[in-house]
Structures are given as C-alpha cells and as structure tokens.
C-alpha cells in the first residue's frame, strides 16, 4: 500500500510531520540554551544528560523520516519495497517512539534543567504542575501500567489497529499516545527528575517486571494468533512480533540498569558519608557511629526523605 495515500487526506496531515519537526527543533534548542546558561554561571551539568537528550531527539527525528526513507530506498537501490504499513516497520517505529526516545529523554532530566534555569513565575507554574493532583494520580503504578501496556493490548488484539489504517487522525493520535505513555513510564522508572511521592526502587523494579513480562507475552500472542488484523502477511506479522520481543528486551535491560544505577549511586553516597563519619570519630566501634541504616532497594524514598534537611 502506498503510504502517500494517507498524506492526501488533509492539509493538516501533510503539514503534521513538518510541525512536529519544528516543535522538536524548538525543544532541542531550548535544552541547549538551558545547558549553556548553567555552564555560563559555572554550574555543573553532566555531559551524559546532554548526550541522552541528543539520542532522544535523534530517535524522534528518525521516526519522522523513517517512512519517507523507506519509500525512497527502492527507488535508489534495487531492493524489495518495504511495506511501511505492515507490522515490521510499525514495530521499529514503536521501539523508537515509545521506548528508546522516552528512556533517553527521561535520563536527560529536562525538568531538573528547567527548574534550575527558570525563575519567577514560569518556575512556580512548573512546580504547581509537578505537585498537582493530576501529576500525582498519573505517576501511580497501576495508571502507568494501564496507560503504557494496557493500551498496547487494546491496539494489537482488537480491530483498533485496522481502524488506524483507515483513519489517519486516529493513527496520529495513537502515535502521540504511545510517545506520551512511554514518557510517563520512563520518567516513573528512571526517576532522575523530581517527582512528588516517588515510588521505592523495589516498587519500580516490580512495575518494570510486570510491564516487560506483559510486553513479551503480547509479542508472543501476536506471533501465535497472527494479530493485529491488517498487520500484513503471516511472515510480516511474525517478523514484527519478533522485532517487538527482542527489541523490547534491549530497552527493558537498559531501563533496569537506569533504575538500579540510581539506587547504586544513592547508596554509594550514603556509604562514603558513613565512612567519613567513622574516620572522623576515630574508632567507630560504637553502635551509633559504626552503622548507618542500610538502604535496601525497598526503602529508596524513606531514606531519601529522612536525609532531606528540615
């Protein structure tokens, strides 16, 4: 099927990718300006966060140009044309849009950057939004899971996927949803940016386990029952399901590393503080000085909140 047929159904749809690209460009420039301002006043901003931002934006740009490039390739080199509407291309798009880009953007900590560069009213507005009841409700485990994985089940196992082929606006809506839900999921897990009522490391690992298991199960169900309908030939659906399965594994491992390196860094800081205290007091054999309460992966937030001054 020619994907060009979708572009003909309205000026907004034809302009859509250009508008999205402009928004991305603006966000990229804003991030760069923020980092430059921090640097100018002598603040430290880890290069790894800037690199993560570049990867995140790069993935999103790749999603925008993926379809046109796939259409162009057979014109330039003699290969079989790739059906951009079939499941393999959709799965690659989904891995970039809903998993890789959100993970990289969550690591890039844009909210932290904004809180450190904004002043006055914009900063207060951002804090109000962060502490709003809606933000609190969205960042609870069941909501995160249903929005991220639950909707995937609805898309692939029901006729919704076929409907997105007939209605381009619905298709655009589904893509926006997957990006935003992926962001919610990654922000909740990575937790570099401030978040009121952040879940403990153990809870976040459990949420990751449930999401990853459901993701793998869904890929197998699609492979077994040749779903979604209109996902292409049986061979295309099987290939798409395997891209989803193994590609998902890679991102899930990266997510686990991101969650646990936060825990590792935090306990490391506590450990070196305790060791410093021990060497200051000399012997360090007294029960109070030799031991600090150990932060197991389960008590991430409690230890965090007690260490906060005031």
């Amino acid at each position: 099927m020619a994907p060009g047929s979708m572009a003909g159904s309205g000026p907004l749809l034809r302009l859509g990718p250009v508008l999205v690209f402009l928004v991305l460009l603006a966000a990229m420039v804003a991030y760069g300006i923020g980092v430059a301002r921090l640097r100018a006043r002598g603040d430290h901003w880890p290069w790894s966060r800037s690199a993560a931002a570049a990867i995140g934006f790069g993935c999103l740009v790749a999603v925008l140009v993926l379809d046109p490039v796939l259409d162009l390739v057979p014109l330039l080199v003699p290969v079989h044309p790739v059906d951009v509407m079939a499941l393999p291309a959709h799965a690659v798009r989904h891995l970039l849009l809903a998993m890789t880009a959100p993970l990289a953007l969550a690591i890039s900590a844009p909210i932290t950057l904004a809180l450190r560069t904004f002043a006055g009213r914009p900063r207060r507005t951002l804090l109000t939004v962060l502490h709003s009841r809606l933000a609190r409700a969205l960042t609870t485990a069941p909501v995160v899971l249903v929005l991220d994985v639950g909707v995937m089940y609805a898309l692939y196992l029901t006729p919704l996927y076929s409907a997105t082929h007939r209605h381009p606006y619905l298709s655009a809506l589904v893509h926006v949803h997957f990006f935003l839900a992926g962001c919610l999921f990654s922000w909740y897990l990575v937790a570099v940016d401030p978040m009121p009522g952040r879940a403990s490391t153990r809870t976040r690992m459990l949420v990751l386990f449930l999401a990853a298991g459901s993701h793998d199960l869904l890929a197998k169900l699609m492979y077994a029952h040749l779903l979604p309908q209109h996902g292409g030939s049986p061979g295309q659906i099987r290939l798409g399901a395997q891209i989803m399965f193994y590609g998902g594994d890679v991102i899930e491992i990266a997510l686990a590393v991101a969650v646990l390196s936060g825990w590792y860094a935090r306990t490391g800081r506590q450990l070196s503080r305790a060791r410093r205290r021990q060497s200051e007091t000399g012997t360090g054999t007294g029960p109070g000085s030799a031991e600090v309460s150990d932060e197991t992966p389960g008590t991430g937030t409690s230890a965090r909140s007690t260490s906060r001054p005031g």
């Binding site: 990853a212 686990a256 600090v292 197991t296």
Partner: protein
C-alpha cells in the same frame, strides 16, 4: 550497614549475598537458554503451535524476569564488593540454586506441563529431557549443600566480641 571490619559480616549482608547469587543464577540460566538453545542451536522454537496461553504467560514473564534478575543480581554483587562484605560461599550457593531451580522449572513445568516448546524436535526426547532435568536437579542439590555447609561453618565460628 557499613562495616570497616571485614571479619564481622552482619546477617543482612549474608542474606544479600545469597539473593545476589540466586538472581545471577536465574539470569545465567535464562541467558544460556535464550542464546545457546534458541539463537545458536535453534533447538528451541520461538513458538510451538501446541503451546497453550498459560504457557505463553509463564514464558513471557520468565523471559523478562531472567534479564531483570541478571541486572539486579550484578548490581547487588557490585554493592557487596564495594562494602567489602561479600559472603563468597553464599553467592555460589545462591547461583547454583538459582540456575538449577530455574532450569528444573523450565524443564518440568514449562516444557512438560505448559508444553511451551520441547528441547529439540524430530528426535527421541527422553535422553534430552533426562539430561536437562538431572543436570538441573544436581545443580540445585549442590547449591543447597553448599548453603548448609556455609551456614554450619558460620554457626561454628566463635562469635566476634562487640
């Protein structure tokens, strides 16, 4: 807990050594299963037509869980090393228990009861099944014996003076 004295290992760290071992063991078993039997030998199948949904559910969660176990286990191990309180015997015991336990679950429950897939196709399965499960059982047994031995060694050791 932070302890400068390496001879004094608190209970929390021995338990954490065992946990780290079990997680790494499960992770290694899942990793070997995925790379050697699925990807390299192509003995196992991604999906076997006779698999019921219960098998797919078990497979999905164990597959994802295996990866998370290896990442979690390695982070816990790194934390133990950083504190200088690794109980090596416990790590090995946990590793064998985790590997044997997972492979036994895979061989008995997933292959046989859930009929997820078989070890190999178009061959007489019995020798494969026996090798798979007996190896797993021996691993589990060795892990439990190692755990008992290190527990006994610990209780025989004179208590450190506080």
């Amino acid at each position: 807990m932070v302890h400068a004295d390496p001879n004094r290992q608190p209970e929390a760290m021995t338990a954490r050594s065992l946990t780290a071992g079990v997680l790494i063991g499960i992770g290694v078993a899942a990793f070997l299963d995925e790379t050697v039997f699925h990807q390299l030998l192509h003995w196992h199948h991604f999906y076997d037509r006779s698999t019921p949904t219960a098998g797919l559910v078990s497979d999905g969660f164990f597959h994802a869980g295996g990866w998370l176990c290896i990442v979690g286990g390695l982070f816990l191990f790194a934390d133990l090393q950083r504190r200088g309180s690794t109980a090596t015997g416990r790590v090995w015991a946990g590793g064998l228990i985790g590997w044997g336990g997972f492979q036994l679950y895979d061989g008995l429950i997933q292959h046989k009861i859930f009929r997820l897939h078989q070890i190999r196709y178009h061959v007489d399965l019995l020798p494969y099944d026996l090798t798979w499960n007996i190896l797993a059982g021996l691993g589990l047994l060795a892990g439990l014996m190692l755990l008992l031995r290190s527990a006994r060694a610990r209780s025989n050791r004179p208590q450190p003076t506080r």
